[in-house]
């Protein structure tokens, strides 16, 4: 099951819409890391609002995505972790260390705009 990835300005937004298998998660990782290059993205948002389970594999894959995207020059923000999911992650001792998190899509975009401001500032301004 594929996860749709939208391009929004300098950012990519991946919205998970249904339960994902491990293979789906790895597919998401690979396409995001590829598309960061294709679209020269500065930021990646992964919306996990629809995920009712984030087990060790899911958390590890999200961490991998964030680290791989960072090596390709893009910041990743996870948005929409549900309260029950947050609790189960804490109980399992799973952390999103090194990964940014924000409450929802709006906050995630605001965070990325702030974070990537410096990068775009260096560009030569030009009319579009």
């Amino acid at each position: 099951m594929g996860v749709p990835i939208l391009k929004e300005g300098h950012h990519l937004i991946a919205t998970i819409q249904t339960a994902l298998t491990d293979t789906d998660l790895q597919g998401l990782r690979d396409s995001l890391v590829t598309q960061v290059g294709r679209y020269r993205a500065r930021g990646v948002i992964i919306d996990v609002t629809a995920l009712d389970v984030m087990d060790s594999f899911a958390v590890r894959t999200l961490r991998d995505i964030a680290q791989m995207a960072r090596l390709r020059g893009a910041e990743t923000v996870i948005v929409g972790v549900q309260p029950e999911v947050a609790l189960s992650m804490v109980e399992l001792g799973l952390t999103l260390e090194g990964v940014n998190a924000a409450l929802d899509l709006e906050e995630g975009l605001a965070f990325l705009d702030e974070r990537t401001k410096g990068a775009s500032r260096g560009e030569v301004p030009r009319a579009r």
Binding site: Q17, A50, V53, D55, L87, E91
Partner: protein
């Protein structure tokens, strides 16, 4: 729609109107046995677990904890034993309801069970068996493992 959240209705279409206390255990939803061989089965097992737990009257937080525990147990089966089974069962003790999850495989077994129950212990490149986590997510935890014969993990969670 959120895939695994839609677990409130029984497979036969019954609504989970099972909150009333003190009913005979004959009313408990039937047990469910799911073969686990692939990562798609991991998702199926936790969805079935969520459905059964919802029918038993567990709230949203416990549903997530139970589904997460099943996910970890099923993943251990796929990862270490290749194939096995998750058995889900509604249980009752002292007129208290709960869910029992049995993860059984005929895989290589765990040579160092005590070690596998310590946080941070892993034999497969950092993913971890997740057993200490599963233990924290549930109320009762039992493991039997014999090298070369397989592993059976039994967990229970009780309605509060």
């Amino acid at each position: 729609m959120r895939g695994e959240r839609r677990g409130a209705v029984q497979p036969d279409g019954r609504l989970p109107a099972l909150r009333s206390k003190g009913r005979a255990s004959a009313d408990l939803p039937a047990q469910n046995s799911i073969p686990v061989r692939s990562d798609a089965d991991i998702v199926l097992a936790r969805q079935k677990g969520r459905e059964l737990a919802a029918a038993l009257g567990f709230g949203p937080t416990d549903l997530t904890l139970i589904a997460t525990a099943i996910s970890e147990l099923a993943r251990n089966i796929v990862l270490y034993a290749k194939r096995g089974r998750i058995v889900l069962k509604g249980i009752e003790r002292n007129s208290r309801r709960g869910i029992m999850v049995v993860a059984r495989d005929g895989g290589p077994g765990i040579p160092n069970v005590a070690g596998a129950l310590q946080s941070g212990f892993s034999t497969s490149g950092g993913l971890g068996l997740g057993l200490p986590g599963v233990r924290r997510l549930t109320d009762e935890f039992d493991i039997e493992s014999a090298v070369g014969r397989g592993t059976t993990v039994t967990v229970k969670k009780w309605l509060r």
